[in-house]
């Protein structure tokens, strides 16, 4: 299987031949930053296109089909439109916080995006508390949303921000606990190790019932965390027009929009990494020929395919379910998901202690 560290090592060596140590690092940081941002933008645009197509097929429509073949360039065209649009100065807003909010949201999702192991050797941040770091940075986003709602001087935005505060803080618990369950199982918080451990079988299969429960809970909580339907209360268009980003225009709105899709990607990637083996091909112990055949498929492709499946499930939720009410949303978390999670964690500890797993 192709190891991407070959490429990165080669770049590193090339730079070191001509530049001193400090310049090498600086150049590499800039290069990586550029790659992350470009990747970020491209993935977001592709996801927007995919969502529009998927949603169209759910709704007996065709979706974008005019700009480029099959409408492929539609979301790029939309991006350029958004870039050229005016940033409208709304009267009586807290201007500093109002302008800061979209950047906080986007920074949080870029940071989380940076932690994901995309393929063998293709990982930017990898250290022993990777999972912990990921959860920490991804929860910064809520600050941005609260600020956006608070500073907009709009009652709809404020209600939207309050809803999203209540919702995201609640569901963070479920995300944390379901990931913790899997950390207990794997015994490490380093994402690369977690992926490596799944070489003999994905955690979803190896971890028995508790892993399955954790996966389902993670999917529900992850959907809620990204503010997508049926948990799209913060922006509930039929109630709050657009919730916290009602007053935003141009690229500031675009940041919220991109961040929403990237957060969905991050949630799907984490699900893939922790439950579905990350970039690791499907291996079945004992079937050597099968495993070798699976290894022929590039690791990046494995990763993208798994993420695509999870994203499709999340989109499926959105386009079929009606929206929950705020009290039902919180009841689901605090009365059902959280107790289930706690029991599940205990169950997982028992599984690990008595070595009941595969």
């Amino acid at each position: 299987m192709f190891d991407f560290s070959v490429v990165t090592k080669w770049v590193d060596m090339m730079l070191r031949q001509w530049l001193p140590e400090s310049w090498v690092l600086t150049t590499e940081f800039v290069l990586i930053g550029l790659c992350v941002l470009v990747g970020y933008a491209i993935i977001a645009l592709v996801l927007i296109y995919v969502e529009r197509k998927v949603c169209a097929f759910f709704q007996c429509r065709l979706g974008p089909n005019r700009v480029g073949p099959y409408g492929l360039l539609q979301s790029f065209a939309d991006m350029f439109k958004m870039l050229t649009k005016e940033l409208i100065e709304v009267n009586h807003v807290d201007r500093f916080l109002f302008n800061l909010a979209p950047y906080i949201v986007i920074i949080s999702s870029v940071l989380a995006f940076g932690c994901i192991p995309f393929a063998k050797g293709l990982e930017i941040i990898d250290f022993n508390v990777g999972v912990f770091f990921l959860i920490a940075v991804s929860s910064i986003g809520i600050v941005g949303i609260l600020l956006a709602g608070w500073s907009s001087n709009n009652k709809y935005s404020l209600i939207g921000a309050m809803r999203s505060g209540a919702q995201m803080i609640s569901y963070e618990l479920s995300i944390g606990l379901s990931i913790l369950t899997m950390v207990v199982f794997s015994g490490t918080m380093q994402l690369s190790t977690i992926v490596a451990e799944q070489a003999d079988g994905w955690f979803l299969f190896r971890g028995h019932i508790p892993a399955l429960i954790a996966f389902v809970v993670y999917l529900i909580a992850g959907t809620a965390e990204t503010n997508r339907g049926p948990f799209d209360l913060p922006e509930a268009d039929s109630e709050l027009t657009a919730g916290y980003h009602t007053e935003y225009s141009g690229m500031h709105f675009g940041f919220f929009y991109l961040a929403e899709y990237l957060n969905m990607f991050v949630v799907a990637s984490v699900a893939t990494t922790i439950f579905l083996g990350g970039w690791m091909p499907l291996h079945i112990p004992g079937w050597e020929a099968f495993n070798a055949a699976m290894d022929w498929i590039p690791s990046l492709l494995w990763f993208i395919a798994k993420v695509a499946v999870v994203i499709f499930i999340i989109m499926w939720f959105k386009w079929t379910f009606p929206r929950l009410r705020i009290d039902q949303l919180l009841r689901l978390e605090w009365k059902y998901l959280l107790p289930i999670n706690l029991v599940n964690l205990l169950l997982m500890v028992l599984v690990v202690v008595f070595e009941l797993h595969f």
């Binding site: 949603c55 759910f58 709704q59 007996c60 429509r61 009652k155 709809y156 209600i159 309050m162 809803r163 339907g229 049926p230 799209d232 209360l233 509930a236 268009d237 039929s238 109630e239 709050l240 027009t241 386009w319 079929t320 379910f321 009606p322 929206r323 929950l324 009410r325 705020i326 009290d327 039902q328």
Partner: protein, 547 residues
């Protein structure tokens, strides 16, 4: 009870009452005696006029008055009550809003258009006009000079404190005191839902007092697309007035026009051919299905199920295609005319209806699988916005919303018109009264409408599609009231004719106004999302409210 007996009973209770006409029975009383008589009529067990069908302001030239069309939901008899005052400077009449809750908004409408102040009414704001409007448009001596009421560019101030007038008995006699009722305190968090809001289905504005997510009070503000159709009709000939009915509740276009045609035909004494009755009934039922499909789509969208919206529209499109073929229009059909219909049905119509009858039931099954059965949808609908039968009658909430509260108020059954007396159909009545009830009544009514169509479509008799009428139509002097079952409830037309070719007064009893008057009652102490669900389930159409 027979009209004769009612007359005797009223004469016994109030000897001063004047009986204007016998059929329908119309009683005229002095303003001072109205509250007493009204509450007696409402509460007497033999009369029990518990449903105020329609309340019409009128300017008879010398007098300003109000006409109340009453009906008993228990005994089925009806009565017209009239009261008037000759004081044109400061006209004051007693309010009946404490007897029939639906009078609340209607009296505000009359106040705005005739300037009649209602004593003991809690909230005397104009319902449709701006607070700074000069003059009373529906009075006959109204000056419509645009200089008096120019198009004002500044926003209207929303009143937090509303005027009210109360009657006090003093030693010298009676004294009317002007006072102020507080609608919203300064401390309250009031959010505007509308006039530009996706969930109000048009330009309607709710001022909602919130406590966190909880709705504490809803104040309905209408009039954003009021076009003064009733005033316009007073200067149009009868055939011309027909064009405006399709623009009231545009989703019940056929039924509205049907009502006006029926009313005029009845006044002229025209008997329409049997074929016309069949065609009109078929069109009415197709409209009902189309409207209920649109209800389903928009209601699902209000609840956040976006895909459902497209399913409903896809199927509604098939009905619109049929309309287009036969009538030439898809939304505004202009099909019914006085004495018949505009042109004969298209030869394809029968086949298309038959196809549609086969096509829709499996789709409805799919709707139920996709949306009704969903656990989230169930939680959002059950037990939300419960409207009791008593309130439904008092507020005059008819149609599917009234029937969901257990009130069998279907005009097609009470006073059959068209060929509804010849077809077999079930009046869908449920007793839950919540959002789910209102939703299910509509879904079941689609099936009933299909059942009606099934019986009619093969049996359309041959004959003329219209009777010849004179080019200029004059109605005999008198007052006429006729109502039909539109998609959202009882749609009534009241015509007062003085023998001219124009109506002296034409009033539409809109089914939508009672619907929005219960929003406050139903949404109070619920969540914001419940307000949206309640609004969606009532299925009001704004142009119908703002006539």
């Amino acid at each position: 009870m027979e009209n004769r007996q009612i007359k005797e009973k009223i004469a016994g209770f109030l000897p001063e009452a004047v009986f204007v006409t016998e059929e329908p029975l119309m009683v005229s009383v002095a303003p001072m005696q109205l509250p007493e008589l009204a509450s007696w009529l409402r509460n007497d067990p033999e009369l029990l006029f518990d449903y105020l069908v329609c309340m019409t302001g009128e300017d008879s030239g010398e007098e300003l008055g109000v006409i109340y069309h009453l009906r008993s939901t228990v005994h089925g008899h009806s009565l017209v009550l009239r009261t008037a005052t000759s004081d044109r400077e400061n006209p004051e009449l007693p309010s009946v809003s404490s007897i029939w809750a639906t009078a609340n908004l209607n009296e505000r409408e009359v106040y705005g258009f005739f300037g009649i102040r209602f004593i003991n009414h809690p909230d005397m704001r104009r319902l449709f006009l701006r607070n700074d409007w000069v003059g009373y448009p529906l009075r006959k001596d109204y000056n419509a000079d645009p200089k008096i009421n120019p198009v004002r560019l500044e926003s209207e101030e929303s009143l937090d404190v509303v005027p009210a007038y109360e009657l006090h008995e003093t030693e010298e006699g009676f004294d009317i005191e002007e006072k102020e009722n507080v609608l919203f305190d300064n401390e309250e968090y009031v959010v505007n839902i509308g006039p530009q809001h996706p969930a109000t289905h048009g330009v309607l504005r709710f001022r909602v007092q919130l406590d966190g997510e909880t709705v504490r009070k809803v104040d309905v503000n209408c009039g954003y697309i009021h076009r003064g159709i009733e005033k316009m009709c007073e200067s149009l000939t009868y055939p011309q007035t027909l064009a405006l009915t399709d623009r009231l509740d545009y989703l019940s276009a056929h039924q509205n026009r049907h009502a006006l045609c029926l009313c005029i035909e009845e006044a002229m004494g025209i008997e329409v051919p049997e074929r016309v009755k069949y065609i009109r009934t078929i069109m009415d039922e197709l409209t009902r299905i189309a409207s209920h499909l649109l209800f389903w789509s928009t209601f699902c969208m209000d609840l956040g199920a976006l895909t459902a919206f497209f399913y409903g529209f896809r199927d509604r499109e098939k009905i619109l295609d049929m309309f287009e073929e036969t009538c030439g229009g898809r939304l505004i059909m202009n099909y019914n005319v006085i004495g018949g219909v505009m042109q004969d049905i298209h030869p394809n119509l029968i086949g298309r209806i038959k196809e549609f009858i086969k096509y829709l039931p499996p789709m409805l099954k799919e709707y139920h699988e996709v949306f009704t059965g969903n656990v989230i949808a169930q939680q959002r609908m059950h037990g939300i916005g419960v409207l009791s039968r008593e309130y439904a009658i008092s507020y005059g909430v008819t149609g599917p919303s009234g029937r969901a509260s257990g009130w069998a108020c279907d005009v097609r059954k009470i006073a059959p018109y068209g060929v509804y007396d010849k077809v077999d159909f079930k009046e869908v009545v449920r007793h839950d009264g919540d959002v789910y009830g209102r939703y299910m009544v509509r879904m079941d009514e689609i099936l009933e409408s299909l059942h009606i169509l099934e019986q009619l479509v093969d049996n359309i008799p041959a004959g003329d599609y219209a009777v010849k009428t004179k080019p200029i139509i004059r109605l005999p002097e008198g007052r006429y009231f006729k109502s039909v079952e539109a998609c959202r409830g009882e749609f009534g037309v009241y015509i007062e004719s003085r023998g001219d070719k124009y109506p002296y007064r034409l009033k539409f009893r809109s089914p939508g106004l009672p619907l929005i008057s219960v929003v406050d009652l139903l949404a109070r102490d619920g969540k914001i999302a419940d307000l949206i669900a309640v609004g969606g389930s009532l299925d009001y159409v704004v142009p119908d409210i703002d006539r």
